[in-house]
């Protein structure tokens, strides 16, 4: 059974990347705090609405007491937010957005988004991406790889399917060639806009094998809803076999 689909419920999708748990914990902290604040408000308000209705309280009291004490919720929430931002938030954000893995330790993939597909580009065994040129793009070469470029010879390209090995971080360089798209994998708790003219790098490290859906999270035109792809997380040996197969198919 595929974990990606079996664990879907009314709550969050299964946490399938190394940092998904951290994000889920933040979500939990925040929603617990929100629920607590809301319940306190609601209980207080419900009490007032009954206790001070006209029938129970025919005359209002003109003055207000304890003006200073009214700052208590503001101060408490401010302290909570400072703790949340600087103790909880900053380390997680730095971890997921700024601590990119070194390319030699990671599976490096370039993803080019277009209306309405995800084009994946692997550098192959030489670790070098071949040159892409916009003028070379056509149906046979969706990425526009330059066949004359020696670095391109071992490159692997695929459409709407991304294969990655388990146990190693994946470094994705994202861009788009027409409009803005957004690379969203719910189980990995990762999302990054793919912006034409820009290269944005993100990383994630899957913790389980399986098939995970890539959705587009930024309105990109009439096919936005069907712009989907799949990430297949494979055990290391299966991934190596696939990559070898791609290489073999290319060079008879």
């Amino acid at each position: 059974m595929n974990p990606a689909q079996s664990n879907y419920g009314w709550g969050l999708p299964v946490a399938a990347s190394t940092y998904a748990d951290k994000i889920d914990r933040s979500l939990l902290i925040l929603h617990a705090a929100m629920a607590a604040i809301f319940v306190l408000w609601a209980v207080y308000m419900a009490y007032c609405l009954v206790r001070y209705r006209k029938e129970n309280s025919p005359k209002a009291v003109y003055s207000h007491k304890s003006t200073l004490a009214s700052y208590t919720p503001d101060v408490l929430i401010f302290i909570f937010e400072v703790w949340l931002i600087f103790i909880v938030g900053v380390p997680i954000w730095a971890h997921i957005r700024e601590e990119l893995p070194a390319p030699e330790d990671a599976t490096v993939i370039r993803v080019v988004a277009e209306q309405f597909a995800w084009l994946a580009h692997y550098p192959g065994p030489d670790g070098k991406f071949g040159r892409m040129a916009p003028s070379l793009v056509d149906y046979a070469i969706p990425l526009g790889l330059d066949p004359q470029d020696p670095d391109a010879g071992d490159d692997v390209a695929s459409v709407n399917e991304i294969r990655v090995p388990l146990g190693r971080p994946v470094l994705v360089t994202l861009t788009a060639r027409d409009v803005i798209h957004s690379f969203f994998v719910p189980e990995f708790r990762t999302k990054q806009d793919a912006v034409p003219g820009m290269e944005n790098s993100i990383w994630f490290e899957p913790v389980m094998a399986g098939r995970f859906e890539i959705g587009c999270a930024q309105l990109c035109g009439l096919g936005h809803y069907r712009m989907r792809g799949d990430i297949f997380v494979l055990p290391e040996d299966e991934y190596a076999a696939w990559m070898a197969g791609e290489q073999a198919g290319r060079r008879p």
Binding site: W10, G11, L12, P13, I23, S26, L27, H31, M34, I37, F38, W41, A42, M45, C48, L49, Y52, R53, K54, S57, A60, Y62, H64, S70, P73, D74, I77, E81, G89, V90, I92, W93, I96, Q115, S135, D138, Y139, R177, D178, V179, I180, S182, F184, P186, R189, K191, Q192, D193, V195, P196, G197, G215, A217, Q218, L219, L222, H224, Y225, R226, R228
Partner: protein, 573 residues
Amino acid sequence: MTAAVHREESFIGKWIFSRDHKVIGLQYMFTSLVFLLIGFSLILLIRWQLAYPGRPIPFIGDLLPDSLAPGGIMMPDFYNSLGAMHGTIMIFLGIVPLGVGAFGNYFLPLQIGAKDMAFPTLNMSSYWVYFVGGVLMLSSFVLPGGAARAGWTSYVPLSVISSGQTTWLLAMTFLITSSLLGAINFIVTTLNLRAPGLTWSRLPLFVWAQFVTGLILLFAFPVLQAGAVLQLLDRVAQTSFYMPQGLIISGELSQRGGGGNALLWQHLFWFLAHPEVYVLLLPPMGIVAEILANGTRKPIFGYKEVAGSFCFIAVLSFMVWAHHMFVSGLKTSLSYLFMTTTMTISIPSIAILTCYLLSLRNASIRYTVPMLFTLAFLPMFGIGGLTGLPLGFTPTDVYLHDTYYVIGHFHYVVVTGTLIALFGGIYYWFPKMFGRSMNMFWGKVHFWGTIVLMNLIFFPMFIQGLAGVQRRLYDPTVQLHNLTVQPTNVLMSYASWGLLLFQVPFIVNFFWSIFKGARSEENPWQATTLEWACPSPPLPHVNFEKVPTVHRGPYEYSVPGREADFWPQNEEN
């Protein structure tokens, strides 16, 4: 009495091209209510598609042209148009003109004891510019190219290459101009036309809210105006302000010069559009203060704290815009700044809510219809505000960004918050505007139906968002991860159609009461602020029989040692 009162005016001079702030306020009110209904109707079509993707729309489907919905089945392009126009109409043609244009125009001069706005002709032009912009926006459905379909946010490059966008940009130019003219008028009026004795610390909170809103509009809108002009140039003059080099659109290499930046639009847009949220929110917060003081029969808790928080919000609202761009490719280290400012802006909002809640203590609460709406505003806006926290907090925003969680968040703020308070304002000030009051039984029916159904529509959005359902999907069932929460879409859709049904009592009540409602006296709610010191409806062009003098603060209810439990601002002793 001045001669102006007796001057005979033609119908056109009195009701169409009027310079009287009250007529202009009513024009804004009727127009914006119509636009609210139109904007709401658009989303009802979307709700059908979301609940039953790909099935022909019943009843209405046959009436739609084949280019939009062949066989009654909505096309993706039409879906995107409906979504973009729903957002645009609700915000720029519905809520802002109702909260600022209608209530601001009608009641700001009355509450400060003025005869009119500072610039009556400017006021009239601001309405008519808005009207032209609104009609143009709406007519885009039938103009060649159709309605805009790149979202109400109009992100480039999609908007530059989508049809219908030129009309949207032109219409927006009118709407922005209208708002700017109005903002200048509100600011100058508040600064210069206050009645004798009406110091800043005696100003009703509604006036504070409108004044601060005017400042926000004045500083934020020119930026969007400029941004929209650049986008228009990108569309019609093939410039590349927002278009980077080497775009390949539908397999064709773009021949534009390039060199533009796609994120520039987002910066310019959100620099307006985040302050805009507070433009939507502050006037209703002012209305809530008025009704709350009146319905609790006691002064608002922390008057200065609330007024100060309005100002603090206004300043901070210009420093948070990039929280809409945490996953856009904005430099990640910049996010720390915007996360901090965003979390900070929650503090004044919480301060305001705390003051309002504490106002209930030791009160003598009257459960009138306006008060019901006001009381509902407090927890509902609370949910809207609280759910903003996980979106302003970058680690959780990465997951929730562009999901239904965001939609749920801002609908709780703008609909169950703002719109509910505006409804309360209509019931509260109706007797002043028309000299008659609305039916309270049907007001209660409207209230309960509306508040329950709104929650049934918007609360499931949080569940969908947490499950990872993206926004703006024509058919969510195409993606596997959306399937488990699909049943909530059916519930939400039925709730939304029910919500339409529960607006019927309001619409009928509103028009029936204008002509047949129970006659109302000058001050039916026994309120303290100046608008209740003039006849209902106020005298054309001069409002007050004589200019009132203000002796005290705005919310002197239940003052010890006095027999009446309210002490109007203009009463001498």
